[in-house]
């Protein structure tokens, strides 16, 4: 079994009209055994920037701690928050530093940039960025997620419709993947508020 499939994960981020949604599953497993059903894969870097990390859970946690550290220093030095594009470049650089002994994670970055323009991107475990205008996916359920998002996505969705779309895409994809699931965790972020919601799906 691949190291990326050791813990199991599903992550998706989608762009809407002046908003974005980022969602993950909640299962943490050790190969076939389920250890936790409330695992947090998505973290807030600042009010307008969220980071989701799929793949090996220990690397995801360590990488998250390193990135928060870097961002806090940046905030102190520059007296401002990091833009999502800048943060994506930072993550890419940090991942590439470990080119020959990488973090086994695939990050998904979602944020609101200048003029509240939503920004999403993903990258592989050594920092190759993939920018997308519509959606990005990661994790063991990524192939199903690609299919589901491609068929359900529409341009310029309002936050409520975006929430429905992301939730349906996530739940239907993790149902086809034995390593991810046990519900969903969805964040819908607009310039004014962040709505966090838990989904209940097939609890297996």
């Amino acid at each position: 079994m691949s190291i990326f499939e050791y813990n199991g994960s599903a992550l998706v981020a989608m762009v809407g009209k002046n908003c974005f949604a980022i969602a993950s599953d909640r299962r943490l497993g050790v190969q076939l055994q389920t250890i936790a059903t409330d695992f947090q894969r998505i973290s807030k870097i600042h009010d307008r920037l969220f980071l989701g990390l799929s793949g090996l859970a220990t690397d995801a946690q360590t990488l998250y701690q390193r990135l928060v550290f870097r961002h806090k220093l940046y905030q102190l030095r520059e007296e401002r928050d990091m833009k999502p594009e800048t943060f994506a470049n930072l993550v890419s650089a940090i991942l590439y530093e470990k080119r020959f002994g990488p973090y086994f994670c695939q990050p998904v970055i979602a944020g609101l940039g200048d003029e509240d323009k939503p920004f999403i991107c993903t990258m592989d475990s050594i920092g190759a960025k993939e920018l997308a205008k519509d959606f990005v996916v990661a994790g063991t359920a990524s192939e199903s997620l690609y299919g589901a998002c491609e068929s359900m996505f529409k341009d310029d969705m309002e936050p409520e419709e975006l929430f429905e779309t992301v939730s349906q895409a996530l739940l239907s994809s993790v149902d086809r993947d034995c390593l991810s699931g046990w519900g969903g965790h969805v964040y819908v972020v607009t310039p004014t508020e962040v709505k966090e919601r838990i989904l209940k799906g097939r609890m297996d």
């Binding site: 030095r77 520059e78 833009k83 594009e85 800048t86 470049n89 930072l90 650089a93």
Partner: protein, 207 residues
């Protein structure tokens, strides 16, 4: 003024807390609502020196420029260090560096050399002018401390005139486009050193 007794050494503070030698050679500044001007006299050691080969105003990035008063070689070392830091920043964040960052890091280097053993402090006072998301900015690095010069409500051309007039007051000999340097940064966010011809035009307006 009691200060003049303290003008013998580059690194001795006067009772009022000023570095008198630095003040003498100080560059002139003008800040406008939509840009920044820095100007300096180009004092050549001899008439045999080709003035076009001497550049006191240097670029750190296309939108940040720096000028000094004091020791040229010390300045060049600081500019090298700064430029490297700027490029490292860009490699990490792929974002143009805000003006405060190179200023802060240069100040840290300058401070280091006042505290480490076996080295002497940098004999320069720097003026950094740049334009970033927070608009036009001007910073002064004198030995170890930083001051921000606040922007006034002035047009860029007026700021150039002000800078020239300030330089003229301390100037010995005939001022011309050949023995002063002027750098400006305007709303186009590009730092630019004026050509001698352009400087002569401004000088004609001032007279």
């Amino acid at each position: 003024m009691g200060d003049s007794q303290y003008s013998f050494s580059l690194t001795t503070f006067s009772p009022s807390g000023k570095l008198v030698q630095i003040e003498h050679a100080l560059t002139a500044v003008g800040s406008a609502a939509n840009g920044v001007v820095i100007a300096t006299e180009k004092k050549l050691p001899s008439i045999l020196v080709d003035e076009t080969s001497v550049q006191k105003i240097q670029y750190l990035t296309p939108n940040i420029g720096v000028v000094y008063s004091g020791m040229g070689p010390d300045f060049r070392v600081l500019v090298r260090k700064s430029r490297k830091q700027v490029e490292q920043y860009h490699r990490l964040y792929k974002e143009p560096i805000p003006v405060t960052q190179p200023v802060r890091e240069t100040a840290a280097v300058m401070q280091e050399f006042t505290q480490s053993g076996g080295v002497r402090p940098f004999g320069v006072s720097l003026l950094v002018a740049g334009y970033d998301d927070n608009g036009p900015q001007l910073y002064q690095n004198a030995k170890t401390f930083l001051e921000k010069r606040y922007t006034d409500d002035m047009e860029l051309d007026d700021a150039v005139h002000t800078a020239i007039l300030t330089l003229k007051e301390g100037f010995e000999g005939q001022i011309s486009g050949k023995n002063i340097e002027i750098g400006i940064i305007g709303t186009d966010k590009n730092f630019r050193v004026l050509t001698p011809a352009e400087i002569d035009d401004y000088l004609a307006e001032v007279e």
